[in-house]
Assembly symmetry: C2
Homo-oligomer: 294 residues x 2
């Protein structure tokens, strides 16, 4: 299967699973469940679930059993987007090409839809069942909680907000991106590896891959914010500069940022060498993420 | 030990555990960790953790092993309070006698402190370890996620907000209170019972107890909102009426509301009969909750 078909096929599997496993819109409170589904089904790239599925496949698990983990990652990610977009945070009107949750459902329901998506992510994680797996529900739950929590994703968002209008060093910016973006991306890949019963050396290689890929992803994100249009991005372009946010291009320049993304992607792929051909799909995805234009 | 000493001793054990297990204020981002601790250590009654510990004791588990579950319940509860108090929700300036999280740390950090407290609650749940226990980390995580999620606590808050200014029936009000309050209170008792390796009949009895006690708690809360001062409550008194919220006293009158709380408390205690003397402490707590004045 070529990469394009693979990505679209994986997205479809994740979307179908989420559609079946998220509460229906008709469930009370209707506004809440509509808001949750509005944001989950707003057309994201499903990068985290796809990386989770591809990592599991690299370790020989290509079953639908992995879908609860993939779905949980997307719900957790969508929750962070809803809250990041709130008026008291980044105050964004568009996301994934659609009006943001609070623009459609109001701030209160948006906050609560995010809260409920975080909760359901943990419920989903526990639907992953795998016999004779060295990793259990406590491992998956703990890892997701730490990635989502006050030392990682939430920390990154606080540091991002507190950095607005300040001159950040390269190291400070990297510290934000590690927490805000790389931590959950790395967890996505680790979840797949754990679902594939990775041994310690394999899990360590996947962790290195996820870590570098996560950083590369955010460098590209920063570049796209300055070079693409709002229509291309599906969210407000040029936002970082407008609110005085530090970005890789602002600190390094565009060319050096592109080189940094290439270097990080090469680092990521190098970590997969122990998997040989089994890592081909993950390598393709890493290249695709580097070359993406949205 | 008399009840007063028991409650204060249990609170202290929970507070000590939380103090040790929540990230220190000095951890980056400092503002976030200060905000989390501001709300967690604002002097709550620790009712959910205390009920969890007392239920475990009724089943013969009086060890500190239960504290991660008790701590998780308090973090989850505190997260909901922080978000409920936000300007876009109930817009409250005081809680537990102190300025609310967003008044001190701003809205963005308050939203994120709540988010991080939800995440850490799931991490804490997984720190509960119990050998030969029929309930595992997946059971505890799933139960907490469902109690916290879009069909329970979050549902109750949405329904509460959407009910403002509307005439609700007794059944509609009860449906809100079941979700907003009784679900997490019931989970608190169930967590204790599960930590005590309750058999199915014992868990069912504890569930009935928790369900009725949770409803009784909210009836009393509604009564206190109309009869006590802001100083006594530690939060703005008379708030329900001011924003046109349906309450038990508004629908039933004060006397009938008191009778309803008594009836629910009696129902709760009756469910514990199968435990005999082992349930004495839980019965005392139920009576204390009925007679509380804050």
């Amino acid at each position: 299967m070529d990469l394009k078909s693979y990505l679209s096929n994986s997205c479809q599997r994740v979307d179908d699973w989420l559609d079946t496993n998220l509460p229906a819109e008709a469930q009370v409170p209707v506004s809440l469940h509509k808001a949750m589904r509005h944001s989950v089904f707003a057309g994201g790239k499903r990068l985290r679930p796809v990386l989770c599925l591809a990592a599991a496949e690299a370790l020989g698990n290509s079953t639908d059993d992995v879908l609860p983990l993939a779905g949980a990652l997307e719900c957790l990610h969508t929750f962070t987007l809803i809250h990041d977009d709130l008026p008291c945070m980044d105050d964004d009107d568009f996301r994934r090409g659609k009006p943001t949750c609070h623009k459609v459902y109001g701030e209160a329901v948006a906050v609560l839809a995010g809260d409920a998506l975080q909760a359901v992510a943990f419920e989903m994680v526990c639907r992953f069942k795998s016999e004779h797996n060295p990793y259990d529900a406590a491992d998956f739950t703990t890892e997701l909680a730490i990635a989502a929590g006050s030392l990682n994703v939430v920390a990154g968002q606080v540091m991002d907000l507190e950095g607005e209008g300040r001159d950040l060093s390269f190291d400070e910016l990297r510290a934000i991106h590690l927490r805000k973006t790389a931590s959950l991306l790395c967890t996505s890949i680790r979840f797949g590896a754990m679902a594939g019963k990775a041994d310690p050396a394999q899990l360590e290689a996947m962790t290195t891959f996820g870590h570098s890929l996560g950083l590369a992803f955010q460098v590209i994100d920063d570049i796209l914010d300055t070079t693409q249009t709002t229509e291309q991005l599906g969210k407000t372009a040029g936002k970082d500069e407008a609110v005085g946010k530090a970005t890789y291009p602002a600190i390094l320049g565009l060319e050096a940022s592109r080189a940094e993304a290439q270097r990080l992607t090469a680092d990521a792929k190098a970590a997969l060498s122990i998997f040989g051909d089994q890592a081909q799909r993950l390598n393709e995805i890493a290249d695709y993420m580097l070359d993406r234009d949205y």
